[in-house]
Symmetry: C2
Subunit: 629 residues, 2 copies
Amino acid sequence: MTLSGGYMGKILRVELTKGKITTEPLKEELVKPYLGAPGIGARILYDEVPAYVGALDPLNKLIFATGPVTGTMIPTAGRHTVISKSPLTGYFGDAGSGGFWGAELKFSGHDIIVVTGKSPKPVYLWIHNDNYELRDADPYWGMDARASDKAIRNDLGDKKIVVANIGEAGENMVRFACILNDEACRAAGRNGLGAVMGFMNLKAIAVRGDQKVPIADPDGVRELSREIMLHQKNNKGVKAFREGGTPSVWTTCWETGDTPSYNWANETFGEFNNSALDFPGPYETILQGNKACYNCTISCRRINVGIDDPNYKVEAGVEGPEYETEGSLGSICGVANLKAISKANDLCNLHGLDTISAGGVVGFAMECYERGLIDKNYTDGIELKFGNDLAVIDLMTKIAKRQGFGNILAEGARRAAQIIGKGAEEYAITVKGQEMPMHDPRAFQGGGPHYACAPTGADHCEGFTFGLEIGGATYPELGFNKPLNRFITKGKGKASTIMQNYMTFIHCTGVCMFADDAGGYSGVPVYLKLLKVITGDNYSVEDALTLGERVWNLKKAFNMKHGCTRAEDTLPNRLLKQPDKRAQNSVVKLDETLPEYYQVRGWDWKTGKPTKEKLISLGLNTEAQDLWT
Amino acid sequence: MTLSGGYMGKILRVELTKGKITTEPLKEELVKPYLGAPGIGARILYDEVPAYVGALDPLNKLIFATGPVTGTMIPTAGRHTVISKSPLTGYFGDAGSGGFWGAELKFSGHDIIVVTGKSPKPVYLWIHNDNYELRDADPYWGMDARASDKAIRNDLGDKKIVVANIGEAGENMVRFACILNDEACRAAGRNGLGAVMGFMNLKAIAVRGDQKVPIADPDGVRELSREIMLHQKNNKGVKAFREGGTPSVWTTCWETGDTPSYNWANETFGEFNNSALDFPGPYETILQGNKACYNCTISCRRINVGIDDPNYKVEAGVEGPEYETEGSLGSICGVANLKAISKANDLCNLHGLDTISAGGVVGFAMECYERGLIDKNYTDGIELKFGNDLAVIDLMTKIAKRQGFGNILAEGARRAAQIIGKGAEEYAITVKGQEMPMHDPRAFQGGGPHYACAPTGADHCEGFTFGLEIGGATYPELGFNKPLNRFITKGKGKASTIMQNYMTFIHCTGVCMFADDAGGYSGVPVYLKLLKVITGDNYSVEDALTLGERVWNLKKAFNMKHGCTRAEDTLPNRLLKQPDKRAQNSVVKLDETLPEYYQVRGWDWKTGKPTKEKLISLGLNTEAQDLWT
């Protein structure tokens, strides 16, 4: 039986302890129900990583997976996902990234890499079509991600090589280390998967390929691509995203109360000068231009103009900050200075830190400091008040290198709170141990069940209702003919479920969610069309949603198997109890939305588990047996 | 409210990340239902270590706990238990040790130490009565356990100091590293807790104290102690144990088929020369004398005469090998040379390896080699045939230092089998990932449910039916008026349960199980008497068994919470399917004994969980909620 179009048909297996590399065919039974990227990754992780295996354990697996559309000529088809048991949450972890690395992996003839074991010494993996080897990474160990990316490409002597790697944060197993790619510009940021790579002593994966992704209907692909590009040419959302990138949403997000400040205490510690981060306006002073990922006509990546101020020195041409980072390293820490945020952002990229968690953990520490739980003795002399931008910058390196107080923050807010004690847990704004992204669910009730129940912990990219509730989006094919009132709770459990299923499906294809978010595609049917022309398979909206639902439930089942309980499907107290002024004094009414969410999901209200019936109806019969015998 | 006699009333809390030490009172509510040692340890671990925390994680806790009788004048009252989430199994871990360390901890005024965090650099903990500090352990890091024990005592300049520490194996997080004490002579061996200590960068805990353990009835204690000593003076079992130690059981164990050989394949790889390990006889050639732990009149510890042969060089005066080690580093590896076993045993003590797992993992590797799953290329040139005693010796250091092939074996047989692949799992003879002790349950059917269901994995010290089935023991107060037929399955689920509850109770008191095993105490009532005179509290046999049952179920509940499933309550295929000639061609009939065991335990047959009713009846209401909501 031959695979559908879109797949190279090969999984690369790397066992690092003995340094053994093998390949195996990508099988139909993985492809059909799980499509690609996080879907197939979740299936492999569930099957191969039992509960007794910890995240930093040679039996954990680090999976790099593409979707069938990745590396094709479909616009925005440059995504890959990294999947592993998360050192940050202890549960299912995944993180997506753009750039060119995923496409290049396909060109090398592989859909997926599964890495396991722990190399006795630092190595990197070099894949060039059918040739692959583990090479000595001693010369690169200790280098930042940008320098080691460059050095590896130089040493291999091929300018077309694309590298995914870790910085010092990953090497030092910082629990929110990311895996960068494309010269440390793009990142599989969340869930701390860079720490897994560091634990494995794997500095980088360099790929280069000359193969083409087989497609079912070449004429159809050309036609659809042209159609998408034409649509994008005239689309307002795309234009806005091209000009302003993610920072273009800053003003709206701030005004609606979506953007948190001062470690989610919002006005408690002062009046944050939000307008200093606006685009258009202040952001333009640090903006040189934009840049595209593989085959993307949106080009939302921000290119920094470069900063000369010695306190905030940033090379011209580096990227960001994105909206999320304006929040995490900005408003969360009370910093309204785009030069400082650019600097801290650049350090995150160099060292390989997830900017969301990095800002979240510093904001947490600042609140502990302001409230007197810790003092200068504890922070190695740093005056950790909100707004101290030099402290934020300083801590990026201290965290990545686990120096002094940075070593405590390197454990993430949940663990750091335990180390600090004195009730610091109240100020650790995480879900399942992952620091929250910059979209405050007090501003849109659909965010409550989404964040509380995402198997990867607080994670906005897993598909939430921001677009429907704040962005003014509609999805007629998904049953949303008009935007939803963000303060009403009724229906939000259902809306959250649908958007999660839909977004999970998109991630599995290998195309970028921004194509959807920014209006880059002309609606849901485009995804079905592109799957048709790439793979040759027919997908209905229902098929797509069922696939997303299957993957979502599989991740959830992984969590339950690994000890995650019903009690972890919740939010930090602050969001449930402390009203947010900008969001019309709202709190998250999880008690109203969660029962509906569970009901729509077919999850057992008492145990938190997907019901046996739900699992079986999704073809997850084995999981039903695992969880319900 | 004042505590019962027997307790110093204080818990020492050590947070290593920031280097903070505090004390808190030992509370009545911990003491009453959990008594001490593994009981109180299990309670703290359950409450404080959630499922998302891995074994090698700064939020794991490493608990050193004594019982109320530890450090009193009651004979054999020198035991302490170390409790933590196990890096070997991923589940509940504990290991007991004798010597003088536990008693000295009591004299320092503490019942329990709870360590957490990860020190930024190697430290050791120095406790002298109410003074405690973390001191630089850089000078000792990399030293073996005997050398560092000596150096620390020298540097502190007090000959009465007692040290518990790790060797290189713990430092390198070998998954079956032990925690030694008393000049690397005694060990909390099992479950790899030395790796937790190494992960924490804690090289040692040195203690010295001048306080007395408060007791309820001093006259009663004197009288009972005299009574026990009188009994021991004339007791045959005690005499045999004093003369021959644990090796005195070798002949009986071998002949009944209790002692495994050749990685549990027994005769498959040859006829093992068992008589070369007999006592009396060959063992006497390596025996210089015996030695006692704290206040012990049995004195079962073996003192080696010293070996001059350069291949097997061992200093005179070192300890062992015990019976378990004759099996693991001897018959399991096909080695019938007591000099070689002495050498390998001594290396385990120096490096800090659990001898049972160390032998088990080498035996596993030998079978993989003999069957062609691995070759000399894989083993770094070692010809890993059964009987190659120099290879066994060589591997002890390679494992402890994680050199080459030793780095793979350092992960334990279960993980090593995954790395090797090719079906090697069949030859990894572990339960829940822990290598089996040297008592083959094919030789006594009560061993089946015991090993399969012990929360700590394969572990004979948790209370098994060997005595009743092979040792000829009776326990009239527990309902066993005569020894049991070892090949009959009926009643063995029940017998196993009772012996587990009973032995768990004994461990909680802080006295040595050998006092019971060897006939050192004149039966069950002695334990009730000694608790009465020490604590002032009345215990009936039923109270004692219920306490043991409570602790057992709490450990089990910990496992279920941490992802252990019903499927892990089983034994390696080999024991279920391959008949053992010496044990009258028997296999373990787990299908007959397990249902009875589950029924007597009140455990749910489908989920493996203790039933809600059982948990509540034991006062484990919170656990019932955790597991059954």
